[in-house]
Symmetry: C2
């Protein structure tokens, strides 16, 4: 295969690895890469195409997972002899996107639909996890410590007391008592400047991103995204016809200077200043300043995703970027998925007053409103003081779980995985020795029943040392030693 | 004011009435129409601009509601002396859409965001209704007959029995037991051809529209929408950057020939074949045939919204369009909002197998998934036979409520409102005498505490006799006479 015959002209907003996967998939489906063909090594292809090796590795990994490629240890990667049946129609349609006009039949999906189907979906990974096999799943709270009796009581009482009020629609912006309770909480705990009217109830930060992309961006506009970062952002941008611009993250958080070099005219920046996802760094005051200055100058917006800042174990958390200066061009989002439970599908988005009506309209047109019962019970949970108690309990629990992880890792994972304790969050970054492929390490961990996502899965164009993301929040202390020992055996 | 100085170049997808409202708003904000100016009569302006009088009436009504205009009975319509403060910033931003480049500051919203904020939002109307004042609210079930004790018991049992399974995410496509139960129900009751894997759980038909527009359309593509029709469709299309093409509805449903004349290259058609919303007609077999033939020929898609077909009082309902022929290019959506309760926010979207992955991805990127508890309890409600019993009970109840309405109307509303009984649904169309303005009639009814939407609110470009939409489902039989008598007094 002449690598130069691959044209990377994939859908707007798709990262290079997706464009490469798409181009390879298209070549396979069109027969330009015949079944059984041996592909170039990832190293050789990355040199020929002048792409990072990670980009090529990720593209190969995706096609291996989809069944277009097969790998034989020690002998390379080959085009599968049997092409995947199940996804064939969707994929074939998807592959038409860029090649439109060359085929007799128009595509089943629009170009945007095909691009959406091709964005890697993190939420696929969230399902079907057998109980007791949650180590080291990222972003899952300690569901073993969920106050189920209390919640059941609140549910029962709320239903009995006011079922008549719980049957009709909530306003698109959300159940008013919950909006008030959240505004109080954010002002007190996170230094967010807001009145209840600015708080919109959304199904979580994913919906917040999706709405922000719709309301603040036009097709073709660019948004800065952190690299490595939460890649479902790409889905929200693709749905809005917008383009993701990966901006590197360093020890101070998003590199604003790099963003300015890449796309000073971006309309939106997605950031996680309190605890960068997934690296865990805190955005420095200098960078916060620079980011706000850029937004003010460029009349752009910042979407601050404060996804797990409740869990700060040492000292007081840095207040939200949103509250740093008056009239900052910042939208603020958070979720109860991490602090209470993912199944609630309740999060919030705080927007400037001038934008409230437009966001409420977009929320309504995307699916009216969130279910009322969850919102009402959550409002009770907050206003009756249970939420603050729960957060305090979880903070103690997670600190102990992190300690247990660090201790066990120092004992068992020496030379295999390097972890440093942090002051915030629900996971640690477990650095692998230079040159070790984190996808392969993650696959070995998975065979041992452990869900440790590879850092490179969150990389778009950045390169760097491999790591396993170790979520400690769902692992009970008494299971930590065993889980770490299993990881050590899997990696050895 | 020279009417010809108004340029209708509003956002794509916005109906003429919105474009006119936008142009007038812009002229007012820019000072081209000074405070206190008397506007042309709706008749004179409609003639000058060659628009239907309804279009002009609707634009004036919107600006009156927003406070840009004030009306003095008998003396015409004037530009308000005090412009509205509350919406000023959003509206001002919105008004920049078409005038981009003429102002110093870039807009706070994207052009799409401004267009979204300008689409009339039907869901604003759903909130804040005092109990006992539901006459004649459209699309609300008999919440007074909701089986609250049974539902509370199911909720309690499901939580106690399996709270551990109800805390994590549902897959984006939905809770599997609910998908199975819905597939069974649709196959048996509606003749829908599907397996559970084709059923996606959505928050309602609004989300179904929003996803269909994203997955099946690219920016600039056109979709046929029924006129009169459910206007929130426009919001879903605007969010996707797509264009709505109003297609007239007659006694046989959507006029497919007219659609072919207007935009044969449309990618999608939104239809309500079982019971056209809001007119209530059933799409004829001939038209169904023509619609499917167009979709097959044009490789377009039909989104069938089967929003209230459970309520058929005489004979068997016509099976769904989706199941009419194998491999029809039809997506099928329905909701539990009308059959169970709006607050659940659970509906379904049945898509061809080849599209499942793309729709699940779009659903995920729009906000992951729906809350699990509602889905699990609803699955119990369906599989334990409660749902079928509930539908049968509601059918008897609604038939009786419709009878009561028709009887009272014949007695009290002679010469004021003309109603004909129908075999399906939850509302009747109450035709007003020729020449009577249905918005004014609706406003008078509202003053009497009655929510009877004017038909013209659902019109895009069509003209025709005015009517009040009379939802009988939420009005208990014993309150019907009084409600109808109040309406008669209000209209007399």
């Amino acid at each position: 295969m002449a690598a130069t015959s691959l044209v990377l002209d994939g859908p707007a907003g798709a990262p290079l690895q997706e464009q490469l996967a798409e181009a390879l998939r298209g070549a396979i489906l069109a027969g330009r890469l015949a079944p059984g063909t041996r592909l170039l090594s990832t190293r050789a292809l990355s040199e020929q195409l002048d792409l990072s090796r990670n980009t090529v590795l990720n593209a190969y990994a995706r096609l291996l997972a989809e069944g277009y490629l097969v790998g034989h240890t020690g002998s390379g990667t080959y085009v599968a002899r049997e092409l995947p049946e199940r996804h064939a129609s969707v994929r074939r349609a998807a592959s038409r996107g860029p090649a439109r006009g060359l085929e007799a039949e128009p595509p089943a999906l629009s170009r945007r639909g095909a691009a959406l189907a091709a964005v890697p979906a993190p939420f696929d990974l969230a399902r079907g996890i057998p109980p007791g096999r949650m180590a080291f799943r990222l972003g899952v709270p300690a569901l073993d410590a969920f106050p189920s009796e209390l919640w059941g009581r609140l549910l029962h009482t709320r239903w009995r007391r006011s079922w008549g009020d719980l049957l009709s629609w909530a306003p698109p912006a959300g159940h008013p008592p919950l909006r008030r309770a959240i505004a109080d909480y954010l002002a007190t705990s996170r230094g967010v400047r807001c009145v209840p009217e600015q708080v919109l109830i959304v199904s979580g930060s994913q919906q917040a991103m999706s709405l922000a992309a719709q309301v603040l961006m036009d097709p073709g506009d660019a948004a800065w995204v952190e690299d490595p970062g939460y890649f479902a952002t790409l889905g929200a941008l693709t749905a809005a016809g917008a383009t993701a611009v990966p901006v590197p993250v360093d020890a101070e958080g998003l590199d604003v200077e790099a963003g300015l070099r890449l796309r000073p005219d971006a309309k939106l920046a997605f950031v996680t200043p309190a605890h960068q996802f997934p690296l865990g760094v805190v955005m420095s005051p200098r960078r916060r300043q620079a980011l706000l200055a850029w937004a003010a100058r460029a009349k752009a917006w910042v979407l601050e995703d404060d996804y797990d800042s409740e869990f700060r174990y040492v000292g007081r958390p840095l207040p939200a970027l949103q509250g740093r200066i008056p009239d900052a061009r910042v939208l603020y989002t958070g979720t109860f998925s991490k602090v209470v439970a993912p199944s609630l599908r309740v999060g919030y988005l705080v927007v400037p007053e001038a934008l409230v009506d437009a966001f409420a309209a977009a929320r309504g047109f995307a699916g009216l409103s969130s279910p009322v019962l969850e919102q009402a019970v959550l409002a009770d949970f907050l206003t009756q003081g249970h939420f603050n108690r729960h957060v305090r309990r979880m903070r103690v629990l997670y600190a102990a779980r992190q300690d247990a992880l660090v201790e066990a890792a120092r004992r068992e994972l020496k030379g295999l995985v390097d972890v440093e304790p942090t002051h915030t969050g629900m996971h640690l970054t477990g650095w692998l020795p230079e040159g070790v492929d984190d996808r392969a390490a993650s696959a070995r961990a998975a065979q041992a029943g452990l869900l440790a996502f590879p850092l490179s899965q969150f990389r778009l164009e950045s390169r760097g040392r491999g790591a396993l993301m170790l979520g400690y929040s769902p692992v009970p202390e008494e299971q930590m030693d065993d889980s770490v020992a299993r990881l050590a055996r899997a990696l050895r």
